[in-house]
C-alpha cells in the first residue's frame, strides 16, 4: 500500500468508528482527538480493524503513533508496504 492508500484505509476505518463525524476537512497534522470525538475505546477500534483487515499487529507501547493522520500513515507505511490495496 502507498501512503495515500494507507490514508484512505484509515479514513474508511474512521468512518466506521465515528459515523457521525465529517471527515472531509480532517487536518493530517493535527491530532485526531483535537478534531474528532474519539476516546481510548475508539483508538482500540483502529488497532482492531487494522488487525482484522490486514493482520497488522500494533504493540500497546506503540499506540501513541496513532495520534494524527500524518503520524499514523508514517508509522504504518513500513508495516503495510507489501500489502496490496483491495
Amino acid at each position: 500500500m502507498t501512503p495515500a492508500e494507507i490514508r484512505d484505509e484509515i479514513l474508511d476505518i474512521l468512518s466506521d468508528i465515528a459515523p457521525d463525524e465529517d471527515l472531509s476537512g480532517l487536518d493530517d497534522n493535527k491530532s485526531f482527538r483535537e478534531q474528532l470525538e474519539l476516546d481510548s475505546m475508539d483508538f482500540l477500534d483502529i488497532v482492531m480493524e487494522l488487525r482484522k483487515r490486514h493482520r497488522v499487529q500494533i504493540p500497546e507501547d506503540e499506540y501513541g503513533n496513532l495520534a494524527s493522520m500524518a503520524s499514523t500513515v508514517s508509522y504504518l507505511e513500513p508495516k503495510m508496504r507489501d500489502i496490496v490495496a483491495a
Binding site: 466506521d16 459515523p19 475505546m41 477500534d45 482492531m48 482484522k52
Partner: protein, 419 residues
C-alpha cells in the same frame, strides 16, 4: 363511589403512580399508535431471517433510533440499549417533567430483561470464526455490551442520569418485575423518579429461535400475521419479538405536587415461584400468585375488569394459564381476558410492560382489546370472558390485572387502577 382497595390506607408518599410511558412495539412506537393497532386487529409479526436458523417469523420494531442516539453510540452499544434509550426519552417527553431541572441523582433506572448478552456473544463468535477462531480479534466492546446492566446503563449514559441503575433478570416475567422494582425503590426513598419496565433484543440471537425450535415451541404459519395464536386449537408455538416499554413512576404526593397527568396507580403486585420445572408452568402457583396480588391489594376477584393474559401460543402453557385463571376468577362473570402476544408475538423482557401499556387506555375508552387469530377456540382454553377477535366495549374499567410468567417457574402479577 371511592375505590375499594388497600391504597385508601396508604399515605400519598407510599402510593405509586404511572405518569407516562415510552414504548416501541412491532405494531407501534407510541401508546396512541400501539393502542390503535390493538383495536384495529393489526399484527406486527413479519417474515424474518436469522443466521443458521434461516427463514422464520418475528415481531420487529421500526423506530427512529437516531432521534435520541448517535450512530457512534449505537455501534458501540447494544440493540437492547438503543431500545431502552428510545423508550426512556419518549416517556420523559410525555411526562411533563421539567427534565433539564430534574436532579438526575434522584432518578433510578430499573429495566427488566429476559436475557442479555446472547446477541453480542453470538456476533463475536461468528466474527472470529472468519479468523480461524483467533481470539485476538474478539472485540474490546464485548464486556461493556454484555454485562447484565447494559440496557439500563446505556440509558444513564445517554441521559446523564446518575441515580441507581440495573436490570432485573426475570425471564418473561421481567417487564412486570421491572415495574415492581421501580415502585419498591420509590417507596423506600431510593429515588424520586423511577424509569421502569422492560426491553428485549432477543430476535437478534439465533439461539432463542433454535432453542424454541428444538423444544417444538417455535411458531410457523404461511401468513406471518396469523402465526401468533394463543388459545387457538391450531396454535403451534411462540413468535419471538423485540420491543421495549418504560414507565415514569412517581410517588402520588410528587405527581400531585406538579399536577401531573396520571395514567394509572399501581395497586398491588406479587411474584412467586413454581419450584416444579425448568420450562413447564404450574397453574396452581400461577393462581396463587394472582390471589396473592388480589389479597395484598385488598381486592376481590370480581373487582377486576380486564386480565391481560401471558399466554404465548404454546400447547401446554396456554391451557395451564387458563386453568389458573378459571380457578382464580371462578364465578366472576364480568371479568374480561385478552392477550397481546396474538398481535406482536412474545416480546420477552418487554412483554409484561408492553402488554399492560396496550390496555391502559381502556380506563378512558372503556374498550377491552381482543385476542386475535382465534379461529377455533381450544376447549382447554375456554374460559368465560375471553375477548376473541373483536374488541369488546365495557361499561367501566377500574382495574387491570397483568399476568407475566417465565421459565424456571417465575410468576408475576401486577394490578393497576384508573385514577
Amino acid at each position: 363511589m371511592p375505590f375499594q382497595d388497600r391504597t385508601a390506607e396508604l399515605p400519598d408518599d407510599q402510593r405509586i403512580v404511572m405518569t407516562a410511558v415510552g414504548l416501541t412495539s412491532p405494531n407501534g412506537n407510541s401508546l396512541e399508535d400501539y393502542r390503535a393497532a390493538l383495536l384495529a386487529g393489526k399484527s406486527g409479526v413479519q417474515s424474518y431471517n436469522i443466521r443458521y436458523v434461516g427463514d422464520t417469523l418475528a415481531g420487529i420494531c421500526n423506530f427512529e433510533a437516531t432521534k435520541y442516539q448517535s450512530r457512534r453510540d449505537m455501534r458501540r452499544g447494544t440493540r437492547a440499549g438503543t431500545i431502552g434509550i428510545w423508550c426512556a426519552h419518549e416517556a420523559i417527553a410525555r411526562s411533563g417533567l421539567d427534565w433539564p431541572n430534574i436532579d438526575k441523582s434522584r432518578v433510578g433506572i430499573y429495566v427488566g430483561i429476559t436475557e442479555h448478552g446472547n446477541v453480542e456473544t453470538e456476533n463475536e463468535i461468528f466474527l472470529i470464526k472468519g479468523y480461524d477462531y483467533d481470539t485476538s480479534v474478539w472485540s474490546h466492546h464485548h464486556n461493556p455490551r454484555t454485562v447484565a446492566n447494559n440496557p439500563a446503563g446505556e440509558i444513564t449514559l445517554n441521559l446523564g442520569i446518575t441515580g441507581p441503575h440495573y436490570t432485573i433478570g426475570a425471564a418473561c416475567a421481567a417487564g412486570n418485575a421491572g415495574i415492581i422494582q421501580g415502585a419498591q425503590m420509590l417507596r423506600l426513598g431510593e429515588c424520586d423518579i423511577a424509569i421502569a419496565g422492560g426491553v428485549s433484543e432477543s430476535i437478534h440471537t439465533f439461539g432463542i429461535f433454535a432453542s424454541f425450535k428444538s423444544q417444538g415451541a417455535l411458531a410457523t404459519h404461511a401468513d406471518p400475521t396469523r402465526a401468533s395464536r394463543p388459545f387457538d386449537k391450531d396454535r403451534n408455538g411462540i413468535v419471538v419479538a423485540e420491543g421495549g416499554c418504560l414507565y415514569i413512576l412517581e410517588r402520588l404526593s410528587d405527581a400531585k405536587a406538579r399536577s401531573a397527568t396520571l395514567l394509572a396507580e399501581i395497586v398491588s403486585y406479587a411474584i412467586n415461584s413454581d419450584a416444579t420445572d425448568f420450562v413447564l408452568p404450574n397453574p396452581e402457583r400461577q393462581a396463587q400468585c394472582v390471589q396473592m396480588a388480589l389479597k395484598r391489594g385488598g381486592l376481590a376477584p370480581d373487582q377486576i375488569q380486564i386480565v391481560s393474559t401471558h399466554a404465548t401460543g404454546t400447547a401446554s402453557g396456554d391451557s395451564q394459564e387458563c386453568e389458573a385463571l378459571r380457578n382464580a376468577f371462578a364465578g366472576c362473570s364480568s371479568v374480561r381476558f385478552n392477550n397481546t402476544k396474538s398481535f406482536i408475538g412474545h416480546a420477552m423482557g418487554a412483554a409484561g410492560a408492553l402488554e399492560l401499556a396496550g390496555n391502559l387506555p381502556s380506563f378512558q375508552d372503556r374498550v377491552c382489546h381482543a385476542t386475535i387469530n382465534v379461529d377455533n377456540l381450544d376447549e382447554t382454553c375456554a374460559i368465560d370472558g375471553l375477548v376473541l377477535n373483536e374488541p369488546e366495549p365495557l361499561d367501566q374499567v377500574d382495574y387491570i390485572l397483568n399476568n407475566s410468567f417465565g421459565m424456571l417457574g417465575i410468576n408475576s402479577v401486577l394490578i393497576v387502577r384508573r385514577f
